[in-house]
Amino acid sequence: MADAAGEKPLLERLASDKRTLVIQAIVQLAKTAVTNDALKALQQIADGTDRELSFFAAQAVSRIRARRGDSGPAEAAPSAASANVAESSDAAITRDRLLSPRTEEISCLLTRIRAAPESLPEELRPSAAAFLGRYGRPEDAPLLTAWLDNPQSGLIVPVIEAIETLAPHALTAHFPSLLASDHPIVRMRAITALRRIDPEEAEAHLFELLASRRVEERLAGASSAFLFPFPKVKEYLLAILTDEQDPEILHACETLLASNPEIDTALRLLDLIDTVPKPQAARLSAIFKTVCTSIAAAGLLEPREPAHECLIKMWRRERLRKFLADLEIQISVAPAGRREAIEEWLTKNLQTPEVAAFIEKLAQNPATEDIHRRLAAFLPGKPVVAPSRESDPPRNRPEPEKLRLLGQLDRNGWDQHAAWVREEARFGSSAVRAAALQAMASLSTEGEDLPLAESALQQDEPDVQLAAFKLLEARAPERILPRLSELLASSAPKLRGRAIRFALKRDEKAAIQGIDWMLRSQDRSLRAQAVSCLFLFPFERIASLLLRTLETEDHPAIARQLIVILLSNPSKEILEKLDHIQSNASAGVSMLIAQGRMDLFDILLKLGIDVHQEPGPEAAAPARQASIAGMKPAPAHSTPVAAVTAPPAAKPYSVAEVRQAIRNREAGVKPPLKSAPQVAAAPSKVSQIPFTAIFAGVIIALAFLPILIMRGTPAAPSSDEPRLSGRSRSQDERRAEEQVDRLTGIPNSFRMGRPCRLTGVVKSVIDKKTFVFDADGKAFRCSSSGALPMLLEGEALTVEMLPYRNLPSGMIAADVSAATPVK
C-alpha cells in the first residue's frame, strides 16, 4: 500500500493533459491510495461533468473507502438498511449503490439488473458492469456484451473487464471493434482481455500499439507491456527508446526495464546511448542509471564498485568491437544528428586503441572516409604537419596547400599551372589527384587528358575515379562504357551514384542488376551502400527489390532507409504490399515496418488518395498466421490469389483485420460488408518499352554480362554471397549466448556468430590479411582488417575470431581480431 509520498506523483498526474495518464493514475490510486487528499481529489473528479473520468474516480473512491473501512454514502445507515431490505429493493439504483453495495442488497440488485437490463439508464451501465463483474455469473455475459455498443468511449472499459472476468470468450466477436478503438484505454483493455484467449495475437496487437505514432497509444502499450513476456517486450522497448522523447513513455519503459533487471538490458542501453543525438543520450543515460541501480539491488553484480561503472567496463571489454563493427554501418546510413553523435563519441574515445584502429579503418570505406579525415589528425602518434611557405612552388607545398590552390584555379591559373596540374593528376596523393582531375574537367579541353582520365578511372581510389568519371562524362562518355558495370558495383556511394545516373540513361537493366547484387550481399556495409543509391532508380523498377530487401533486412538503420524510399514514393499499392511484409529478422525492424505502414497511410490520406480497402481472402489468410510482431507473413507475390485453395477463415481480431478497420475509420469510410469479399488484385504497372529500346538493352546487357558475372563471383565470398532468407537462430538464443559471454569472457570453444578463441594450425596463407585455419575439426577462412604476424603453413596459432558464416566451400568465414603463435 502506498503512503502519502507515493500518492503525490499519482495526484499530480490527475492534472495531466494525457487522458490515458489521468485514467491510469485514478486506477492506480484506487488500488493504493489511503489519504484524505487522494479521496478529496478523486471525489472532485467523480462530481465533475466528464462522464468517463467521473465513473473511474467514483469507482476509485468506493474502493478506497472500502479499504479504509469508511462509511460511504450508500452505507450511511447500515443498521437501518439491514432492517429494511424490502425498502432498499424498491430504491432507485444509483452509481454509489452499484459500486459499494451493502451485502444484503447484492442479490436484489442482481435480480433487478437481470430482469430489465435495458431499463437501466445508460450512465449507470459502467457501474452496473463493475457490479456484475464482482457479483455476476458467466450467464450474465450476453447482457453485458449488449453494452459494448460504443467502442470509442472509455466507459465500456468496465464492461470489458466484467466480461473478461465472467466469460472472456464472449468478447471474441467484439474484439475487432474494441481493438480498433480510437480510445487507447479501450484498445489496451481489449488487448489485455485478448491475452486470455489468444496470447500470441494479443502480443501482436501490443507491439502494434507500441509502434504507434500517437503518444497516448504508445503510453497505453507501455503500460500494458507489464503483462507480457519480458524478453519479447524488451526488444520492442529498446527499439522505441532510440527516438522516444515523451517523458511518461520513457518513465514507463524505465520502470519496466528496471523491474526486470538484466545485465544485457544495461549493455544494450549503452549501445544506444553512444549512437543517438545528445538530448536522447541524456534521457537514456538516466534510464541506464535506474536499470543499474536495480541490477545492483538484485545482486547481479559484485558490489565491489558502483554498478554503472562496472557495466561500462564490461561493455568496453566485451561489446566494443561488435559495437564498432555496427558503427561503420550506422555512419554509412545515419542521418546528420546521429552521425554527429557518433563522431563526438569517437572523438571522446580516440585514446582507446580499438577506437583508434577503427578510425584508421574508416579511411578504407568511402562512406566513412570524411570522418576519418576529420579525426585522423587527433589520433595518438600522428605527426604535426609543417606549415607551408608562400614562395614554395606548388609541387613542393604540403597537401592542404595544393588542394586549396587546385580548388581556386581559374582560367589564368590553368594557363600558368597546367603542367603541374597534369603532373599531380598522375603522381599526387589520392586527394590531390582527385582535385587535379576535377580542375582538368572544368578547365582543360585537350585530348591528351582523356587517356589519363581513363587510367584514373581504373584506380581503386573513389575520389580519383569520381573526378575522372566527371571528366570523361563531359568530354568522352563512350570511354566510360567499358568500365561501367564495375563502377555500378563500386563501394563508393558518390561514384556509384554517378555511375547509376549515367547507366540509367544508357542501360537501366544492367544498373538494376548491379544494385540487386549488392542488396543480396551478406555484407551489411555493402547493403548500406546499395540502399543509398536506390533513390536514384525509377521507383517502379526497384519497388519489388526494395520490399524484398526490407523483408530480410536485420539492421534497423538500413531498414529505415528502405522505408524512407517507400514513404517518399507513396501509393496504395505500396501500402498493400507493405502490409504483406513480415520481418522476423529483428524486433527493431518489425517496429520500423509497423511505423512505416502508419506513416505511409497518413501520407496517402494527406495526398487525398483513396485508401479504403476491403479485406479479401488474400489479406485474411496471412492474418491467420500473424506473428508475434503483428506482421502478416508475406505471401509469394508471384502466387496468384486464385491458386490459394479454400483459405481457412481468418481470425476476425487479427492485426491485419484490425489495422484495416482502423484505417477505414481514419479515412472516414464505413467498414465494408464481410459478406462481400473481393479479390483485390493489385494493379500491376507494365511499362510499355519500345522494341528498339529492348533490343538495345539486350545488346548492352550481353556486352556487360562477362564483367557482371566476374563481379558476381567474388574472390572473397565471405561478404558477397546472397543472404539466406531465413534466420537459423532466434534472437533469444543469441541473447542467451551473449549472457554466457559476459559471464565467462571469450570462450575457448567454437560458437557461430560470437567471439571465440581457438587454437589450431595454419592450413594455408592466402594473402597478408587472409589465411585458412584448422581448429576444432573445422576449417576457417580467416580475414583480418589489420596486419597479421607473418604466418607459415603448418604453424600452430591461437586465434581470437568472430566466426560469422558457413561458406559454400564448407569453410567458415571468420573475422580475426588477434592471432598469436603457440610456442
Binding site: V333, P335, S442, K494, R501, F535, L536, L567, P570, D599
Partner: protein, 127 residues
C-alpha cells in the same frame, strides 16, 4: 503525422516558384515534388537568368514530399548549378522525411543545409 508539415489534407498537386533577391535566387517547390513538379523545376531553372547570382537557395518549407524522380531532378539541377555555373547551392526548411531522403541519397553533401533562410544568409553572406 511527423513528416508532413500541414495537418490538412492536401491534393496531389505541386508548383514551383522562384524569385531573385540580390545575388540570391530563391526557389520554392511546393507540394509533392514528383516527376511533373520536377519537370516544372527544370523549366523554371532553365529559364532563369543567373547573371549576378551567387547563391541558389531551395526553400522546402512548402514541400510535402520529394519522390525518386523529384530527387533525381534536384540532383541534376544541383550538379549543374555547382559544377557548371560554379554557384553555391543551399537548402533550407526541409521537412523531416525530405531531409532524411536527401541525406540518404547524398544530396546534402553537395549543398549546404540550413534550418531557415536567415540561417543560410548568415552563413553564406547576405546578398
Amino acid at each position: 503525422m511527423p513528416y508532413l508539415g500541414g495537418g490538412n489534407r492536401m491534393t496531389n498537386s505541386s508548383e514551383c516558384r522562384m524569385h531573385r533577391d540580390g545575388s540570391w535566387l530563391i526557389v520554392t517547390p511546393a507540394g509533392y515534388l514528383n516527376d511533373q513538379a520536377g519537370a516544372k523545376l527544370n523549366i523554371l531553372l532553365g529559364s532563369a537568368n543567373f547573371d549576378g547570382i551567387r547563391v541558389v537557395l531551395f526553400d522546402f518549407g512548402e514541400t510535402l514530399l520529394v519522390n525518386s524522380q523529384g530527387i533525381a531532378c534536384l540532383l541534376d539541377n544541383c550538379d549543374a548549378l555547382v559544377d557548371t555555373r560554379n554557384l553555391k547551392v543551399a537548402f533550407c526548411r526541409m521537412p523531416a522525411l525530405v531531409k532524411e531522403a536527401f541525406s540518404l541519397v547524398g544530396l546534402l553533401e553537395l549543398v549546404s543545409a540550413f534550418g531557415t533562410e536567415q540561417e543560410a544568409r548568415s552563413a553564406l553572406g547576405h546578398g
